[in-house]
Symmetry: C2
Subunit: 195 residues, 2 copies
Amino acid sequence: MSDPVVQGLIEALRALPGVGQKSAQRMAFHLLQHNRAGAIKLAQALLQSVDEVGHCERCHTFSRDRICSICLDPTRDARVLCVVETPADLAALERTGSYRGMYFVLAGALSPLDGVGVRDIGFAPLLARAMDGVVDEVVLATNFTAEGEITAHVLSEQLKSRGLKVTRLARGVPVGSELEYVDLGTIAHALMDRR
Amino acid sequence: MSDPVVQGLIEALRALPGVGQKSAQRMAFHLLQHNRAGAIKLAQALLQSVDEVGHCERCHTFSRDRICSICLDPTRDARVLCVVETPADLAALERTGSYRGMYFVLAGALSPLDGVGVRDIGFAPLLARAMDGVVDEVVLATNFTAEGEITAHVLSEQLKSRGLKVTRLARGVPVGSELEYVDLGTIAHALMDRR
């Protein structure tokens, strides 16, 4: 399409993660041809989110209030602080319904190869948060990827040196999986951590 | 994320074709965490496109003007009319630089199983367009899928019965491909249409 406005839309859609030129073109055509109402709704949702959604001052998750509802909840256990990489990870933990402590959301994980260091992901605010005098255990729930493991390792050192108890989510065989198809590293960890 | 505004954004992102719950969530988090400027730009591009981009009255492609630049171009051959399924297909043909006739863009292809019939994809306007007294050849460039072939077949019958010359894009072996990996139907067609 040679129309510069349609081109601009295609270009703008590429801001979405995982969307290349072809997908962006397909999306633009689909919205203009079949779902203009959806396009307007999406535009409004984007503007409203950018306008209203900030970060909780205490745990850094997405929040429209200065302090999010989890941080304000007096029934939660303020002695346990769970560190995750993203608000999506926080949401996943919440959905289990089996954690009643507090959270701290990093801005992603350490990734030296991409130039993402301790400053970029908010280590200092986390250390300050963990040293509030109430927290006595920090649960590291960063991803079990290379980046997440490095992040957990570096964080663990720093937190332990400040006298805090540090734990990590258990590694093991995923529920519902067949051993035959589980990777060797996972099985090895599950064996080591058997109980 | 329990925040209803973020949830609304995730919901709105699902209007995009091929985007499910997981991708929408990833997109929302990415935009809010890393690319708020991109989110605003996308919102503006969506609103501008919906507001300004309509369809050319003659060929039905996307256009901000009542008649698009191709239909207005006096150097193009008005005797040849090429029928495509979407503006994206028109763009692909234009990029080849080897077609100098006019276009007509259907609203997709016939798909009886999905309840898409001749009325839904704009057959009547096409027949009216093709019978303008100037067009003497209609090139059917619908896709070489089941739906596109049915569409071409039905169109061909209708146009021929009105005394127009009807052609179809040649089927054959794609340029740059190795015979070994080309499907049998394509090879059979390439054999039949050998020249």
